[in-house]
């Protein structure tokens, strides 16, 4: 038998997957099993496939994805906590032909940035808000988020979230869907290949709608946090399916008329 040489199989016709050129070579700092990396990659692929790299301006949040600008090879702005939609509003108004998105976590978007989120959607700014909801503050070490489930334990709800004193989980996608300014509101996931494919489809729709100036697109990715949920990646995904999805059901909440 001839000796195996990897070069023999590294050929264009054998390519099954390659890293998007919109992703940099920097090693991501995310924990094993975290959904952020997959969400970044999916977005990068859409930017590449839609040939948006030269006209994309992205706004990163404060939270685990604060360093997102290290991973995507596009022009990016780092916002203060919760303020990304305000930055994006000005960017899009001043440069209407650019593709503009924010990438925000649940603390950023649904707690400190609630006003910016609601009013940006209400004005129907032609931007994409990509919202990654894992029900917890990741970067600061697992504190309760506005989207933390009832009974769920965190470092600031050590006995479980109690609706009577801590309120109930905020369903941001349902909230912004009520506003006339949003044209497309959907909930997706990145924990399975099928989920990623659906997210990609949703992102491409958001690009199309933004090109047509149809209003705000709001895509929520229901995700996990193995480290702060204190679970293995596999267990975290299972827990997410069993607990997060019933509270935050996947699928379209609002689609443009006629779609």
């Amino acid at each position: 038998m001839a000796e195996f040489n990897p070069k023999d199989i590294i050929k264009p016709e054998n390519l099954v997957y390659r890293k998007s050129k919109v992703l940099t070579d920097n090693v991501m700092h995310y924990c094993p099993g975290c959904g952020h990396g997959t969400a970044h990659r999916t977005l990068a692929e859409v930017i590449e496939e839609e040939e948006l790299q030269s006209r994309t301006i992205g706004i990163t949040p404060v939270g685990c994805s604060v360093l997102m600008y290290n991973y995507l090879d596009i022009d990016m702005q780092e916002a203060a906590h919760g303020r990304a939609p305000a930055l994006a509003t000005a960017v899009k108004r001043l440069m209407p032909d650019r593709f503009v998105f924010t990438y925000q976590g649940d603390g950023d978007l649904a707690a400190i940035g609630t006003a910016e989120t609601i009013h940006t959607c209400n004005r129907g700014e032609n931007i994409l808000i990509l919202f990654v909801n894992n029900g917890i503050y990741g970067m600061t070490g697992g504190q309760m988020a506005p989207t933390t489930l009832l009974g769920m334990k965190s470092s600031t709800s050590p006995y479980g979230r109690d609706a009577a004193t801590m309120g109930s989980p905020v369903k941001m996608a349902d909230l912004v869907a009520l506003l006339p300014g949003t044209c497309y509101v959907t909930r997706q996931s990145v924990h399975t290949a099928a989920g990623v494919r659906k997210l990609k489809k949703a992102l491409k729709k958001a690009v199309e709608y933004q090109n047509k100036n149809m209003g705000t697109c709001f895509i929520e990715v229901v995700s996990n946090c193995p480290s702060n949920w204190k679970m293995t990646p596999v267990a975290a995904n299972k827990w997410m399916e069993e607990n997060m999805f019933p509270a935050y059901p996947l699928g379209d909440i609002k689609v443009p008329a006629g779609e």
């Binding site: 994309t56 596009i74 990016m76 000005a90 960017v91 001043l94 910016e116």
Partner: protein, 356 residues
């Protein structure tokens, strides 16, 4: 070209000057006594004429962050507010300073603390010149003393902001914002399409990606950045200090006052000189950088320097630092929206002289 003379409120002059200068965007939120800026711009609707974007934000916080986003695209963007609103904007301002972005912020100051009054005050001096938000930084601070300067400093503020990649502030007050005077307006300039090379405009193949951020998790790198900022501030102090002098040549006493107080002190100088008191006025036009060197020179030959401010005594501390003990420094101020009269200022000076 025939000069265009108008009678305008200070607030209106700022708005009109922004359109004529070719500003790209204004993001604001109503608050007395400066709401005329947003109202004037909404009525003028410059998006149709020059393409300038005007937007009423949901809060001062959102407005300053819109400025951040626009400035990060290399656009000439501005916001305005009054004291309580400027406090809210401090978060955005420190991020803008930390990201080294040029922009223009207007503060039409009212009395504080808290909700305070809606009447004119100069009690936001510390906040404006010492930074205002967290971290080591400075704004370039311009203090107009007339409606004409409200208009002129829009262009000057933007020019300095872009020259140094640093936020600039016009520190005005309710009196100058609300009063009307003659103002000569510059002709309309076309908005510039050229954007700086550092701006986030979409990454072409030909350059590396541009990142606008104020974050550095490595303390060594952050300290280097802090040192770079300090270098910049030293250069600004060296090159951009502006002030005006009024009858200081033979003066035994000197008022130091900016903005509305400087106007009052100018009258006080006239009144005092009618009584034979040789007093002059130094009016800082830039509050950061502060005319330290000139005050230090003047300290050699005057008996007393009296800072006159509509505050409990804020700028007086910079006067003291400037003269470094060479001469006596005192303060006269009114607060809470009260404005000193020229007679009152002269009376106070006489008391000081008596006590000498």
């Amino acid at each position: 070209m025939e000069k265009e003379l108008k009678l305008m409120k200070g607030n209106e002059a700022i708005a009109e000057a922004a359109i004529r200068y070719g500003a790209d965007g204004y993001f604001g939120y109503p608050i007395t006594p400066q709401s005329e800026i947003l109202e004037y711009l909404m009525e003028a609707d410059p998006e149709k004429s020059t393409g300038m974007v005007v937007l009423q934000a949901e809060s001062e916080v959102a407005a300053i962050n819109m400025v951040y986003g626009g400035a990060a695209c290399g656009k000439k963007v501005m916001t305005s507010s009054s004291s309580p609103g400027i406090s809210l904007k401090q978060e955005g301002i420190t991020y803008i300073a930390g990201a080294e972005l040029p922009c223009l912020i207007v503060n039409v100051v009212r009395g504080g603390p808290g909700l305070g009054t809606i009447q004119p005050a100069q009690s936001d001096y510390f906040q404006a010149v010492k930074g205002g938000g967290h971290g080591d930084y400075h704004l370039i601070v311009l203090a107009p003393a007339s409606v004409q300067e409200m208009a002129d400093f829009v262009g000057l503020g933007f020019d300095l902001a872009f020259k140094y990649r640093n936020p600039a502030m016009i520190l005005s007050d309710g009196a100058i914002g609300q009063m009307m005077e003659k103002v000569e307006l510059m002709p309309y300039q076309k908005r510039s399409e050229d954007l700086p090379s550092w701006a986030t405009t979409g990454k072409p193949e030909t350059r590396e990606r541009n990142i606008i951020t104020s974050l550095d998790l490595d303390p060594n790198a952050q300290e280097k950045f802090n040192q770079k900022l300090i270098q910049k501030y030293r250069e600004i102090e060296e090159k951009e200090t502006r002030y005006e002098e009024f009858q200081t040549e033979d003066a035994d006493f000197i008022f130091v006052a900016y903005g509305t107080s400087a106007r009052i002190c100018q009258k006080a100088v006239q009144l005092a000189r009618e009584e034979g008191i040789k007093v002059g006025l130094l009016r800082p036009v830039t509050l950061f950088p502060f005319p330290k060197r000139r005050l230090n020179q003047l300290a050699d030959k005057v008996k007393v320097m009296m800072a006159v401010e509509m505050s409990a005594g804020q700028m007086v501390e910079d006067v003291m630092l400037s003269v470094n003990g060479k001469t006596k420094v005192c303060h006269y101020g009114r607060m809470g929206g009260m404005i000193p009269t020229p007679d009152e200022v002269v009376e106070n000076l006489k008391q000081i002289i008596k006590g000498e």
